[in-house]
């Protein structure tokens, strides 16, 4: 059951500075971006929070631009924004591929990349892309701004280093050398939560990230090293099978996920061969 509205409050700041002050002085507050995760939780009464902070008026957080050679994506950029952005299409096509496979159009118009990151589901489709791209997250509080490598953001299942007084404001991506690759395996293209999702970059040292096979999105350093060292793909698949420990759950089994992951690795390698 949805909690009674009378118990819920919403703050609607007009600027980032005010939003950050409210988080500091009036928190804990739950930020709202596109609400495609939060409203599901509210509608089903699984979210206990009652004090919310609306980010939707903070227009600068929706910008996508280039700064000092880096691609900077505002946390409020929606999947539709990513798909339509020439900059993202040119510099990070694997993110466009991921965005196209999120939900249906209704979810793509509302869901944000920042919400995907902070929600932190291990099945989040943008997450392996940010991991393989070695993205940096820009976190801001009223007192300071700090930068955290995406690969150091999560500390466990849906847990991260983001503090309650901080917002994710942007995601920065340095130029990605090499061929980019993304594949999502679910039950059907639209609306399906990923069973296994892989993003990878083929460069001297390949960068490979997997979602839905562990409590958080993971990089595969040993598999990457094996491929960089010239291992045959079959050997690299063997390393991958040692490197991840997927689980059985409602959506799939561990054995199936492992099989899919090793197949995806071979697909990536074949698709990106020169």
């Amino acid at each position: 059951m949805r909690p009674a509205l009378g118990t819920i409050t919403l703050r609607e700041p007009r600027t980032l500075r005010d939003a950050l002050r409210m988080l500091r002085d009036e928190g804990p507050l739950t930020p709202l971006a596109g609400c495609t995760d939060v409203f599901v939780q509210i509608n089903f009464g699984t979210l206990r929070a009652t004090e919310f902070l609306d980010l939707s008026r903070l227009a600068p957080l929706r910008r996508i631009c280039e700064e000092d050679g880096r691609l900077v994506i505002g946390a409020l950029a929606t999947y539709t924004d990513l798909i339509r952005s020439r900059l993202v299409r040119r510099r990070l096509p694997m993110l466009v591929a991921a965005a196209r496979e999120v939900g249906g159009p209704q979810i793509q118009h509302r869901g944000t990349i920042g919400g995907n990151v902070v929600n932190g589901s291990p099945a989040g489709d943008a997450l392996p892309v940010l991991s393989a791209a070695d993205a940096t997250l820009v976190l801001a509080s009223a007192a300071a701004e700090r930068r955290v490598p995406f690969t150091a953001f999560y500390t466990g299942y849906r847990a991260s280093v983001l503090r309650p007084d901080e917002l994710l404001v942007a995601i920065e991506v340095a130029p990605v050398e090499g061929r980019q690759w993304f594949r999502k395996v679910g039950t059907r293209a639209a609306q399906a939560i990923s069973k296994v999702v892989m993003a990878a970059v083929r460069d001297g040292t390949p960068r490979i990230a997997l979602g839905s096979v562990a409590p958080t999105v993971v990089r595969l350093p040993r598999t990457e090293a094996a491929l960089a060292g010239g291992a045959a793909i079959a050997a690299a698949q063997g390393v991958l099978a040692e490197e991840i420990r997927p689980i059985d759950d409602l959506r799939s089994t561990a054995a199936y996920r492992l099989r899919v992951a090793t197949n995806l690795l071979a697909r990536f390698w074949a698709d990106t061969a020169a």
């Binding site: 409203f39 599901v40 639209a190």
Partner: protein, 176 residues
């Protein structure tokens, strides 16, 4: 139904009624900013054409256009409609090309999904391919028709010559 909110003054959007444009008309509703747009449309504004299926963004029955883009109104807080344009199935009036085509092709059986389907279809470009229609309706579930009749209905409506009111939403979608 309004709850007291702190941090008032110019720092935040003023409390009180939420004003937006609904089907071309200015409206103002005195409802909670965290109320679901779906409930406000159906209960506060009496527009019951928009349906609730799942309440979790999966089925698309509650689809409305927000500034021309299809969204699930069960996942939209009223606050996010403030100052924006909301369009519901009622704006079509009953004799829209899409409505006639859904009838003609048997695209509506129980009808639960139909308003949402039509709102999602409105956002399609003017002469969509079958693939584009599939994509555009991928967020809408139908338990009755098996989709074929729905796709045919959208194609039939698109083949009717004069520009439909959907064209403006489609133009919106094509913006860079």
């Amino acid at each position: 139904m309004n709850t007291p909110r702190s941090g008032g003054g110019a720092r935040t959007v003023a409390a009180g009624p939420v004003a937006f444009t609904l089907n071309g008309h200015a409206v103002s509703v005195d409802a909670h900013p965290m109320a679901r747009l779906l409930d406000v449309l159906r209960e506060d504004l009496g527009l019951t054409g928009t349906k609730e299926g799942c309440g979790e963004g999966e089925c698309g029955a509650c689809t409305v256009l927000l500034d021309g883009a299809p969204v699930c109104s069960c996942l939209v807080p009223l606050a996010h409609a403030r100052g924006r344009e909301v369009r519901t199935i009622e704006s079509l009036g009953g004799d829209h090309a899409l409505q006639r085509a859904f009838v003609a092709e048997g695209g509506a059986q129980c009808g639960a999904c139909t308003p949402g389907m039509i709102m999602a279809a409105l956002a399609l470009p003017e002469h969509p391919t079958r693939e584009r229609i599939r994509q555009g309706l991928a967020g809408n579930l139908c338990r009755c028709t098996g989709y074929e009749a729905i796709y045919r209905a959208v194609e039939r409506a698109a083949s009717e010559t004069v520009a439909t009111p959907g064209a403006s939403a489609a133009a919106e979608e094509r913006k860079p």
